[in-house]
Each structure stands twice: as C-alpha cells, then as structure tokens.
Symmetry: D2
Subunit: 338 residues, 4 copies
Amino acid sequence: MGDIACSNGISNGNGVNGKAHSSLNGYRKSCWYEEEIEENLRFCFALNSILHTGATQYQEIALLDTKPFGKALVIDGKLQSAEVDEFIYHECLVHPALVYHPNPKTIFIMGGGEGSTAREILRHSTVDKVVMCDIDEEVVDFCKAYLAVNKKAFCDPRLEIIINDARREIESRKECYDVIIGDLADPIEGGPCYKLYTKSFYELCVKPKLNEGGIFVTQAGPAGIFSHTEVFSCIYNTLKQVFKYVVPYSAHVPSYADTWGWVMASDSPLVLSADEFDLRIKQKIRGENRYLDGKTFSSASILSKAVRKSLNNETHVYTEGAARFIYGHGSACNQNHA
Amino acid sequence: MGDIACSNGISNGNGVNGKAHSSLNGYRKSCWYEEEIEENLRFCFALNSILHTGATQYQEIALLDTKPFGKALVIDGKLQSAEVDEFIYHECLVHPALVYHPNPKTIFIMGGGEGSTAREILRHSTVDKVVMCDIDEEVVDFCKAYLAVNKKAFCDPRLEIIINDARREIESRKECYDVIIGDLADPIEGGPCYKLYTKSFYELCVKPKLNEGGIFVTQAGPAGIFSHTEVFSCIYNTLKQVFKYVVPYSAHVPSYADTWGWVMASDSPLVLSADEFDLRIKQKIRGENRYLDGKTFSSASILSKAVRKSLNNETHVYTEGAARFIYGHGSACNQNHA
Amino acid sequence: MGDIACSNGISNGNGVNGKAHSSLNGYRKSCWYEEEIEENLRFCFALNSILHTGATQYQEIALLDTKPFGKALVIDGKLQSAEVDEFIYHECLVHPALVYHPNPKTIFIMGGGEGSTAREILRHSTVDKVVMCDIDEEVVDFCKAYLAVNKKAFCDPRLEIIINDARREIESRKECYDVIIGDLADPIEGGPCYKLYTKSFYELCVKPKLNEGGIFVTQAGPAGIFSHTEVFSCIYNTLKQVFKYVVPYSAHVPSYADTWGWVMASDSPLVLSADEFDLRIKQKIRGENRYLDGKTFSSASILSKAVRKSLNNETHVYTEGAARFIYGHGSACNQNHA
Amino acid sequence: MGDIACSNGISNGNGVNGKAHSSLNGYRKSCWYEEEIEENLRFCFALNSILHTGATQYQEIALLDTKPFGKALVIDGKLQSAEVDEFIYHECLVHPALVYHPNPKTIFIMGGGEGSTAREILRHSTVDKVVMCDIDEEVVDFCKAYLAVNKKAFCDPRLEIIINDARREIESRKECYDVIIGDLADPIEGGPCYKLYTKSFYELCVKPKLNEGGIFVTQAGPAGIFSHTEVFSCIYNTLKQVFKYVVPYSAHVPSYADTWGWVMASDSPLVLSADEFDLRIKQKIRGENRYLDGKTFSSASILSKAVRKSLNNETHVYTEGAARFIYGHGSACNQNHA
C-alpha cells in the first residue's frame, strides 16, 4: 500500500471528480517531512505516514514513517533518531567507552529517554545496572509505547528509569559509576542542556561520580568539516580541562545529513589497538554490532586535518557565567519545573 | 495534539538525544503535502496527518488531514476535494442545472464516486432517483468508509450506485434522465475520460438519454485567466455543437489554486433571473447553500473579458479520431478492463 | 537557455565529475521561489533566474524571473506583482474609479512605487496630473530601472513622483483630486500602513481632499471565500462609515493564489451599466484593457453569497486607538524616519 | 545585498502595493535550489542568485550562488561541485595517487572539465604534463569563464585540454602516463560513462597506458553506509580483477549529503605510513592542503565495518555485454556524436 506505481498507459478510471487533469504521466511523492538542518539548508524525506504526534510538558514530539530512513522520532522539529541508521549514533555513543573500560558494571545515562542508548548498554554482559535519567516522562512513555526496537531494553531488570533533572539526580546519589554517558541536547547558550556541558559540571558533578578507571562519554554535536566548530571543538576543549585523557571521534550519520561527534574522557589512559578492541567486543557484547568494530573506531578517532586543527586550536571553555551560576539550584536542562 | 506551540523561552527538557542543537527559537511546520499544479508551480499544505493511503485497480488514493484545508482526498497525486471548500465545486456542479430544470426527478451521475455530488443532488426535494456510475469500486468504498460528510447520502434509498464504465452503462439503459451530470477527470487526449467529452459521445449517448427539457452539466476543468484554454474553452465549444443553449460558468476554489469551470447545456432555454434562482432554491433545496445563490450564479456565469473572448474564438471540437473510435466498444475512461 | 530538455537516451557526456549518478531519466526543475501564503500554505514557482536582490531603508526587494508567472517583484518575501498577471490587479485598482468618474483630471496615488498604477492611470486621456507618493525612494528607483513595462509611464510629464509619507504629503497639500487611490500594504495592526486605512484617516485626510464627485479607491487585501475576513470586510465597513456609496469588488489573481479585493467609495452615486462602462472605456482609455470591461466589472462587483454575507455583517471599524493616535504626527506607514 | 535582516519592529514602508499583508514578523529565505539525492530524499540550499544557466550539446548546466555552500556547479540537475567543499572531493581524487607515486610526471584525466582536478594536479612540482580529456567543450569553456578558482590552472602551460571521448583519446595515444585519473559520471548501466568503468576498459585501455609503477585512480560514487552498494563496491571489485593492489577510501562531502568514495589501483604496492605521506606532501605539493594529510588518508582508507564487509563480499564485475561491446568503436560516454 502506498508504493503502488501509477497505472501509466492504462486507464486510471473515471476520477472521483475532474481535478486529475495533469496526472497522466506518472507522479511524484507528495508528502514530505522537511527539516531545517540550518537556516539555509533543508533535508526532506518522503513520508509514508505520520504515526503519532503529540506534545509533552517540555517538547513537541512526532513519530513519522519516512521512505528513505524508516520510522523517525522528531522532537521540536529536529530529527532525533531514524530507524535505519540510529545504530550508528548509539553504537558510537555507547560501545567505545564500555569496550575501553575493562569491566563496566554500573552505568549512568543523562537523558536517553528514547531507550536506544540503554539498549546498546544492556548488550554488554558485564553490566549489572543502568540508570537512565530523563526529565521528560512523556517522551519516555512515548518511546516505550512506540519504539518496538527498544521494547526489550525497557523491560530489562537491570534498567532503572528515573524522571528527574540529570544534574539534580547525579548530585543526590551517593554511588559512583563505571561509565557515565551524556545523551543530551547540544550545549546552546541559554538552551536547556547548556549547564550539563560546563567545566564546573564536569568537575563537580561528573568526575566525582566516576569510579576509579571510570569513563565519561558524551554526544558532542555535529562534527563535519564546517559544523564541528559549533559545539564539538568546545566540548572537547572543555573536557580537556577536566580529564587527563580525552578522545574525540566522529561518524557520518546519513539521516542527520552530517558527520556526528562524540567525546570520551577519563583520568585513566584510553589506549586499545583495533585488534584488542575487536577481541573485547567479542568477549563482552551480545549480538553483533552493525557499525562499530576495532578498525571502524580507529578510523573514527582519527579526525580529518581541518577538524583536528580546530580542536587543537580551540580555546573556548564552556562555563556558567558567575551571575547565572547558582550552585545546587539545578540546571535549566533538567530541573523540575515544579 | 499536534498544534501545541513550541515551549519557547522555557526549557524544552533534556532532549531524547543530542540532535536538538538549533531548535531553540520556535520551529516551523515540518510535514507537507506538495502538489504540482503544473510543471513549474507547486501548492503545498502543512499536514496534520496522513489518514489513509491505498491503491485501487485504477488509481492511487490518499486521505490527508491538512492544516489549511482540512481533510483532503488525493487521487494519483492530485487533490480532488478538500473538506473546507469542496462545497464550492459540488454546489456549482449540481445546483444550477437542478435549479434551472423546473422539476428534476431523475439524475444520472457519470463518475462522482466521492459521493459529494450525490449528496448535493439528494438535497433537492423533487429528486426521486439518482444513478451514480463510477468505474472504481474501491474509490466508492473508500469514500463511503472515510468521508463522514457523505455518509447520509450514501445511505439514501434514492441513490443507486453502479460500478461500470459510464458510457457502457448509459448506453445500456433504456430510461432517460432529467439531468445528466459529468463528474469526471478532464479530457486529456489519451487520458481515461477523453471519450466522455467528445461531440459524438454527447450526440449519441448523452443527448438521447435526456428527457424533454433535460439538462446536461459537466465539470469543465480549470477556468482561470490563463488556464481556461487547457480544456474549458474546448468543452464549451464542443457542447455548443450539440446543444442549443450552453452556459459556461466558473468560481475560484482556493484549494485548487485556481478558478474552476463548469458548462451547462440544454435544448431548452436556460434563462432565470437571480431572484427566480433564489426562489427556486428556497422551494426545492433542503438546508442552506454555502456558496451558491442567485447573485453568485449570475456573477459566476459572466466570465471575464479574456475568458469570454477565448471561448467565443475557440474552434477546436473534441472528437474521437476515426481510427481510434470503435463504436460500442466502450471508452478508455470507463471500460471494464476484464 | 535554461529550458532545454534533458538529453535523455542519448549521452550526456562524461560529466564534469562523478556526481551525476542518478540523473539519467530526465530531471526536474531545481530552482524555486517559495512563498508562504499563510503559515500552513506555500505557493512555489520554478525559477529561471534571480535578476536582482537588494535592500532599501525600509524593505528587502527582489526581482525574479519565474517560469510560471514571468518577472516577479518580491518585497519582504511577499510577491507584489508578476509580469503575466499584474494587469488584473492594476486594471481593477485603477479603471473602475476612473471610468465611473465622468471626467477625472487629477489623481493622487498613495504608494504605488512600482509604477504600474500610474501606467494604467496615464492611459486615461482625461488625466492631466498624477501625483504618486511613495515613502521608499529606492523601490521607486529600482522599479524605474528594472520594470521595462513601466518605463514610459515613469517618463510621462503628467506624473509627479513624491518621496514622502502619504499622509503627511496629502495633508500638506492644498489642492484636491478627482480620484485618490490607495496602493498600500494591508492594514495589519502595528503594520506600516495601518493608519492609512482608519476611519479618521478617511474622514480627516482623504475625503477633504476629494473634489466634488471625487472617488476614492483602495486595494483591499485578499477577498477569497475564506480570506476576505482578514481585512477586506473591515476595509469595506470602515469606508461605509465615511462615504455614502461604497462598492466592493474582487478578481482572482493566479500569482497571488487567491481572489483579491478592492473597494471604491464616493459621496456621489456609483451606478453605471455594463454597456455604459464599455462605452466610457472606449472614449477614455488609450489601448485595450486585457482584463476589465463592463461585463467583467459587473461580475467582479457581485460578490459570492458567503463574502456578501460577511461584508454585510461586519461590525469592526479600523480606528487608531486614542492612546496611539497623535494627530498630525504622521503614520507608521509613511513617516520619514529622519 | 541580499542578506539584510528584515526591518522587524520598525516600519517597512508603504509597500509597493498591497500584498504584504502577512510579512510583518520577519521572513524566511524564499529562493531555493532543490536536489533529489534519491527519489525520496531532497537536499535544499537557499539561493543568493542564479549566476548562469545554459545547455551544451550533452548536458544542462547551471552555476548557482548558494547560501550554505557558495557557488555551485550543477549539471543535469545534480550538484557537481560546491565552492566551499569541492576541495574535499578534488584533494581526495588527486593527491593520494600522486603522493603514493614516487615521481609522477605525466597525468591523464578522463573527464575533469571543471578544471579543479587539473588545478590540484598542477600543484605537484614533479608534474610536467597533464592531459585533460573531456567530451564537452562547452562545459570546459563555461568553467574556464566562470570558475575563478581554476583560472590559473586553465592557463598553466603544462595543461593540454583535449575535447574528445576519453576512451578514443587514450586508445589513440602512444604515450603512457604515470597516473591516470577517472573524473567521470558514475557507471549507471546505459549511462554515458558506463563503458569507462568496465573490466575490459581497465584491462585493454587503462592498464596498458600506465608507465611502470603507474597508478590509476577513479572517483567511485557514493560510499555511505547504505549508498556504497550502488556503485562503489562494484567499481572496487572490478578494479580488483585487473590490478594487484587496490585501495578504496572515502570522505564525507557535506554538499553531497553523503560520504563519497574513490578507488586507487596499481600493480605496484600501495604502502605509505601517515608520516611518509605527510613528508611527501611537504616535498611535492605547493601550498597547503585543506583536507588531506597522512592521518586523514589513513582514516579515509579504513572503511567502516559495514562498508568493508560489502566490499569484500561484492561479486559483481562491470562488463560490457558481449552484444553491446564493439571493440574500438568508442564508448557511449565519450564518443563524438558526429
């Protein structure tokens, strides 16, 4: 249904009324999802259907069935995740840190309400406990209900879902984690998640909650040849102020129309050959990765000349302006609006 | 749902993942229906949802929920009818002929599977019997199922629905009708309905099946200042070869992005003042018209200078080329492909 | 140039580089002008070229060469006038008033910097003097330079071009006019021209500057079956408070994707049969109208049922809120920002 | 000009005519270039202007000034090359082969009419002679005239431009080359360049014209996680049948909305460490590369898991069907249509 070719040549019947006057010679896709990648750039997907739309307390949500990328989750007009290639984003976010860490047992996800990050983590046999802390309960419920691919993960007894501001939650917890993962919106000044990317947040909230040998990893925005200066280089530089070892890496995600970036950071050395990487994958991860293996990661973590240069030359560090920073009060991104 | 404004200013939560990096300052409609009015001209409606898509033996069908025009029926990539303004098309197609005719009892609709033409006819208290003959059973079933506005009409005992080629059906019938209505796709050469607009069809099939004083009316394609030369002028001129009295008229239909045309034809004079028109409406039609009254019709039947001129100067007559015309074999438009 | 069909079937050469991988089977128009008719509705024209873009003190300007409508003047992202159908707008704005007036000699245009309104006025042999008062000198210069069709009009010795706020200009002048024409942006509250559509402006500035038997006419925004309630009905109702005789009329302008409205007002009766209208056209207008004649105007001035009803029921009158209205200070629309 | 922000808040003057009724609150980019990346996927760039359009004997050509990617050369509706990122494509096409070759003196370019490939080659100080053979003289002339960035290259005395079918030209020449470069449209079956990607062409025409130690390199179409199976894997596999050493590599090109691929092939080993690569760049290339250095190439030549797997499993080899293959008659792509 939907994809039937036009009955060209043959009759297409005595139309319901007269307005078929120029439809004879085949016809084009007519329903489209249109995203403004940036002000002057649009990426448009033909649509099969609009599966669900709605609005939570915080954001507007849609689940679309697109022709080029399958089911797509859209929040506030931005594609979050598309069925056919979300594995690239989520494998890259999760596996390097959990592979580099020799024995990751406890994981804390800031954000991640979609469930895909938890799903990838739960494939690791070493993992005992995953805390996923998202502020938007309705997004979590929506994804539970609609994203079949994550159904099993949402039911895994190792997963604890908390609805709270990530900062408040992590501060309030006494326990530490082997890996902490940032699956948050980008650090736009004044944006909801800005305060979860600052030097002080990393120093005062994240690092103290990492176990010995623990690793922090965060999505780090677009990392394309031009777009990496938006936030990627600065997230990298901010983490460099706080952690001894910092590894930026990137991968092209077709549905984002860009190369995407992540940064992994730790006070323990992050060194692993491609072969060791592959060996650990084999030992630790159930099922087979579709995107990531040792060679892929070694390629992903060698940035191209221009990006490497920008990162090395980046001087900006994300900080919360003295005036705006009120310790313990919670951040814009995750605070309860009660 | 769907139309909730963006949570501007406030937080929009710690996004499901990171890709919300430029969504802060409000955002635009992102799902669109796009129609090519002509090769170089598109008309695009923001979408609420795609209610249904499917394909029949003859054509591809979709029911969309659009923001500017409500529910819209699209066949083979062309908008047929939109909830908010289909009344213009259907009142203009039906009421002039049924008002001009002093006492219309029996009506034959060629096409009309959507049901709206029948709905308007059935509002006339004089009408005893309506035959609606559409070739595409699935379109009829689809519209029965999905177009709530026509539900009552589809159940009216005066309505007889026939699935057949309109020409074959009308030829096979012995009875005559007071009004015959053409609610068919435009007469594109080689198109499905071309043979239902030719001089010989009008002469040999339509006129003989009209009762004394009977009236034929047909939708006649776009009638705008430029577009009226596509088919409107030629339908008019063809009918002028066959009937003594021919009245072309037009109205702007917003969802078509054009002015639309109809032609009414009879061997009895078609004269009625605006006041008489209004009086008859009052006497004959149940409920109130939204578009058409006496003044509206008098305006609609005075074409603008340029269109009037073209119609008067039109010399082309639709004929079936000798070679292509095989009498009794049925037309491309309505034949059973059995 | 530009419209050459794709060399389908034959070779299209060893492409400049490799990115031609799916261009074999013909290809589509790829440059488009896209206008948001309203938030949920877009109208898109294929482009031949972008002839000129620029910005004046007041507005952003572009001259485009479009495939469906020829050269198009776009101001602040809204189509003002398209080569192939601007005659509809300008003939409707100018000729009814100048034909109804028995002997129009002096004309004042508020706005009209494009030159087309002046062009149509200057076709009237009775006209001695036309004052065109537009606030934006650069638009006037731009149109002088680029709109070949108005070149002659701009050079006509009867035309006096004034760069000023229309209200300030008309107030400062002692002389009266036979016809005053409003060729201004729509009266959006807070918009630039709102104060040139208010009851007090009509009463205190326009009416006193009309000679005995003088006529005022203004463009009056979209007048479609749904869109006429935006401003058309209210402009009509406001003028009804000030003038004894008020005639609203409308016409479909394809490039606007809507029916457009104008309102003519006078304290002298506005009655003329279609035949008299035609006779006066013959006597007074050099060259032949493309759109307007007596019959066209009689059709244009009979509004459809729904629009007629709205206009009759309209109660809103445009006024300047007491607080906002400072007499003699000039209006937002035309004031010099010095 | 063009990028002036909307005069929001303030007045925007008394518009040229009335159609500015909803333009108050800022406005959007309205001219767009739209490319169908594939049937269900579009990539759209806001336009500053259309600098030139035209049609040659073989193809339709346009030079656009786009907001996101600067000047863009479009052939037959497909973006070929954009000002801001064409360096990625052309550095990747040219430099690996010329760096791997210890002393490249003579180069043959099949296609390349844009001039950018020649420009990059001519930066190599070892190069004595470059033959660029493109079938379309008008494209060459167009690019000479309009692409300022390649002006110097087009005038370099080492460059010989030949207008001919590449196969015919290379066959007719007695001399051999150190590097042969394929800068051609993709090998679509029935497409213009298909025959320049076949095993027999590589065996009979290319390989015999390489000097001892010579290297062949070709653009190889999209190489994204999904798109690499279109032609990239097959070009790789075909070259593997003919050459002892074959190196596929890829890079994300933002304006293509995809990762792009190239394949380098030789009968001499292709081994070079990142440091040696950088050293040779320093020794041989005038000016500084923007994209490519040793590390970038080592990353580019490690394909991701999924792509690597497809390439290894690819079994298809491009051949000219016995029936279609007429030796010595020239190929569809480059033949003179005389």
